[in-house]
């Protein structure tokens, strides 16, 4: 089930809210768990078993790790839990990738398994991994209640597209949390804004990307239009989903970590990755990069650590070489920045933003490509390769048609609007006006989003496939 759908907004959500707030405090997690299983099973009931098994092993090994804390057995149980989690992820997500590459290298033709990827498996696997590691490290206590642990892992707001919520961040809230009008209003605000980002901006720009892919008469302008639209589409799609997840979490009394912090205003790629998909970046930092030794190792080893982390980041997004190349490209850039570029970039003024956005836009072209050759072809075409005309009537039309949405997208990907709203709110008269206007604006946005959904349009969430 997707947040930006009529079944979720007008069937699942009201029912869940009713049941949740009607339930006594000690049953709230059970209600959340049951409804989360319904949410997950709605689209793919057969994959429930993967998730339930993952949760079960996480629960059992968590208890065992804690029971044998500071002994060799604890490490053994952690290894078993990690192997099971990664084993399931590899089986579902990477088996065919490995087989295809094995076939390519050996000339054999082993049959592909053709396993459909369970939705959200990359997200909930990482949550279970972090839980087991945190219990092993002693930074979290093992959860005694299966319902509580399952409610944490399966919690529908963040289940299928993040943010990757750490158990340590919400362990206390699982037992004790407050439900306030202020929290609820904040949650509603984040949810509706996220819905607007997804439905009005991301979906619309997604349509433009689809039009480009289907177009037979491409031009240099059209390639650029697509590249910029896709860059905005990815941001609004993913950050919109994160906003909705954070908002829903807050309505149910949880505080999830922020996942985006205006990444497109970054002045370096290093800064970009501190602002983009923060929960994934910090996960790899804490559970892979630092355990590998981080930067407190010989230089060659440090480089290796960076390449391992970014290769993993790339492959986390998809089992294909273009994702690996995408990750490695960032590894190279990050090393270059750390070695030579960061200081000059600090003095580069606006040029540094052009540098970052150019890299980001080109990286997303590779990210979206069917394969590496396709991605390179698109990048070449953007710079005049491939013999495409400079402009075409079709590209001009779509530039005009989607121009305003793209401008709104560009402005919306900076803090300008949030800062303006804050400044107005802090003014006494402006604050009174905002008190009235903000709820009306949110209600109108919900109505307009509903209108888009009723009319039916391009709607799949991009990050589901990860």
């Amino acid at each position: 089930m997707v947040f930006s759908g009529i079944p979720f907004l007008y069937y699942f959500l009201p029912l869940t809210l009713l049941l949740y707030f009607a339930a006594p405090r000690k049953l709230k997690n059970a209600v959340l768990l049951i409804m989360s299983l319904v949410f997950y099973g709605w689209g793919e009931p057969k994959y429930l078993i993967f998730m339930v098994l993952s949760i079960l092993q996480g629960y059992i090994f968590g208890l065992l790790i804690e029971k044998h804390q500071n002994t060799g057995r604890s490490r053994l149980y952690l290894t078993a839990s990690v192997m099971l989690s990664l084993g399931m992820l590899c089986y579902c997500k990477y088996a065919d990738f490995f087989i295809a590459n094995f076939n390519a290298v050996t000339g054999l033709s082993l049959p592909l398994l053709k396993i459909a990827l369970p939705i959200g498996i990359s997200f909930y696997t990482f949550q279970i991994l972090s839980y087991a590691v945190d219990v092993y490290r002693g930074s979290a206590k093992a959860q005694r209640s299966f319902v509580n642990l399952a409610a944490y892992i399966a919690m529908f707001p963040q289940l299928i597209a993040g943010p990757i919520v750490r158990y340590t961040d919400i362990a206390d809230s699982l037992d004790h949390r407050e439900h306030t009008a202020a929290g609820c209003a904040y949650g509603v605000r984040r949810f509706v804004l996220g819905l607007g980002k997804k439905v009005l901006i991301a979906n619309t720009l997604g349509e433009l990307c689809s039009i480009f892919r289907a177009a037979e008469e491409k031009s240099v302008l059209f390639f650029w239009l697509y590249a910029v639209a896709y860059t905005l589409h990815v941001y609004f799609d993913f950050s919109g989903y994160s906003d909705m997840a954070i908002g829903l979490g807050r309505i149910f009394g949880f505080r999830f970590m922020e996942n985006f912090n205006y990444p497109y205003i970054s002045g370096s790629i290093t800064e970009f990755w501190r602002r983009w998909h923060i929960s994934l970046g910090s996960w790899f930092r804490d559970y892979l990069y630092i355990p590998l030794g981080g930067n407190r190792v010989p230089k060659w080893r440090w480089y290796l650590n960076i390449f391992i982390v970014w290769m993993s980041t790339g492959l986390w997004h998809g089992a294909a070489w273009n994702f690996a190349i995408w990750g490695l490209m960032f590894a190279v850039l990050l090393v270059m920045e750390k070695q030579w570029l960061l200081k000059p970039l600090e003095r580069a003024g606006f040029v540094k933003h052009i540098y970052v956005m150019l890299i980001v836009i080109l990286s997303f072209v590779v990210f979206d490509a069917a394969n590496i050759a396709d991605g390179l072809h698109s990048i070449a075409a953007m710079f005049g390769g491939g013999g495409y005309p400079l402009v075409s009537a079709e590209a001009l039309y779509y530039l005009r048609s989607y121009g305003l949405v793209m401008i709104i997208g560009v402005i919306g990907s900076t803090p300008i609007m949030a800062k303006t709203a804050k400044a107005v709110s802090e003014h006494s008269t402006g604050g009174r006006i905002m008190s009235l206007l903000e709820p009306v604006f949110l209600a109108l946005m919900l109505i307009v989003c509903t209108a888009y959904l009723v009319d039916g349009s391009f709607n799949p969430f991009l990050y589901f496939r990860f």
Binding site: P14, A185, V188, Y397, L436, V440, L446, V454, D455
Partner: protein, 364 residues
């Protein structure tokens, strides 16, 4: 206090919307059809273990929930306003508005589709039409007159025509595009206006060496005509008047519908009570009709292979023929034609719009 009030208003307002429409949707009886979109609405899907496990139930429920949502047409209109006027997009669901006319983007030219259509025509020619004089005419869709001038992507109509002609050397091409202009089409519909294409019919007649006087009385339907783009654009476009032309010749004709085995009129005014008023012309989508014209004594016969544009122009060709057979190979296989039509050297006219040739998968 200010913050607290804002919070309460926010929660209450959004709560009213979500819970209100949720309750309304559950209590409201399901509708059968969407009049504005001219299609049946999705009904509650079959609920069983099989449909749930296979995912069919949930997929169908998504459609059902959107189709049966309260105030669906009003919401579709809100979306259209947002697309056209808030975000200033050029089209909504590919439908665009230009100088008071609505049309659907038809782009790009699908050369494979055009060649496929030509192959179907060739197959029909080889199988049935060896003794006939075979003509072909191409009806440009509305976009030919409004897309490019409005900055919308448009097909190369000259290239389109050239490609069709190149691939149909067995037919004599009769150009008609020079006789058409935007005003010859309905503002809210795909089709051309019958009262504006008498000159086209005459021109076709001349090319086929048949004299057509083209004298008709104009009749107007007493019902407002909302074309297909009204529903698709979801905007309150003004209604149009639908005219149909009559004269003594047409009134004396009998039309035999091979599908139903019944005789019908050239104009089926019962269709004026339906969803698509354009269906009054030869009763709309019919696979095979035979029109007998007792007023014509020449004994000349015509077979017209046509799409829906043909429904309104064929009545204007009847005058010159004793018998006109009207075939729509979108609704019947051309392989079966020999069972129903006796081909014996009649004049044959292939009359198709660019819309059908550019999407020729429907031709059988």
């Amino acid at each position: 206090m200010k913050e607290r009030t804002k919070n309460i208003i926010t929660v209450v307002l959004t709560g009213i919307i979500i819970f209100g429409f949720a309750l309304w949707g559950v209590l409201m009886p399901d509708g059968d059809i969407s009049i504005s979109e001219r299609r049946p609405l999705k009904q509650f899907p079959k609920l069983s273990a099989d449909t749930v496990i296979s995912g069919d139930f949930t997929a169908d429920f998504e459609e059902y929930a959107a189709d049966q949502f309260p105030l669906r047409d009003a919401f579709r209109r809100i979306k259209a306003y947002a697309v056209y006027y808030l975000f200033r997009q050029g089209d909504n669901n590919d439908v665009y508005l230009q100088d008071g006319y609505a049309s659907k983007l038809e782009y790009p030219m699908n050369e494979d589709s055009i060649r496929r259509a030509a192959q179907v025509f060739k197959k029909v020619y080889d199988k049935y039409l060896g003794e006939s004089r075979v003509y072909f005419s191409l009806i440009p869709d509305k976009n030919a007159f409004m897309a490019e001038s409005g900055g919308y992507p448009a097909m190369d109509y000259a290239g389109f025509t050239q490609l069709v002609v190149q691939n149909t050397p067995f037919m004599q091409y009769i150009p008609i595009d020079h006789l058409l202009e935007l005003e010859d089409y309905y503002r809210t519909d795909t089709h051309w206006r019958q009262e504006r294409i008498v000159d086209v019919a005459k021109h076709l007649g001349e090319a086929m060496e048949v004299e057509l006087k083209g004298e008709y009385a104009e009749n107007v339907l007493d019902k407002p005509f909302y074309g297909v783009y009204c529903g698709q654009a979801a905007l309150p476009l003004p209604a149009e008047e639908l005219y149909y032309l009559t004269n003594e010749v047409l009134e004396g004709c009998s039309v035999y519908d091979h599908e139903t085995g019944k005789h019908i009129g050239v104009y089926d005014l019962e269709k004026a009570n339906g969803q698509d008023l354009y269906e009054i012309f030869l009763s709309g989508s019919k696979s095979l009709l035979t029109i007998e014209n007792p007023a014509c004594s020449t004994g000349r016969e015509l077979i017209v292979f046509r799409d829906s544009f043909g429904s309104s122009i064929v009545p204007l060709l009847i005058e010159g023929y004793s018998t006109v057979t009207v075939v729509d190979i979108r609704y019947m296989s051309s392989d079966m034609l020999g069972r129903f039509v006796d081909f014996h050297g009649q004049d044959v006219l292939f009359l198709y719009s660019t819309l059908v040739l550019n999407n020729s998968v429907t031709l059988k």
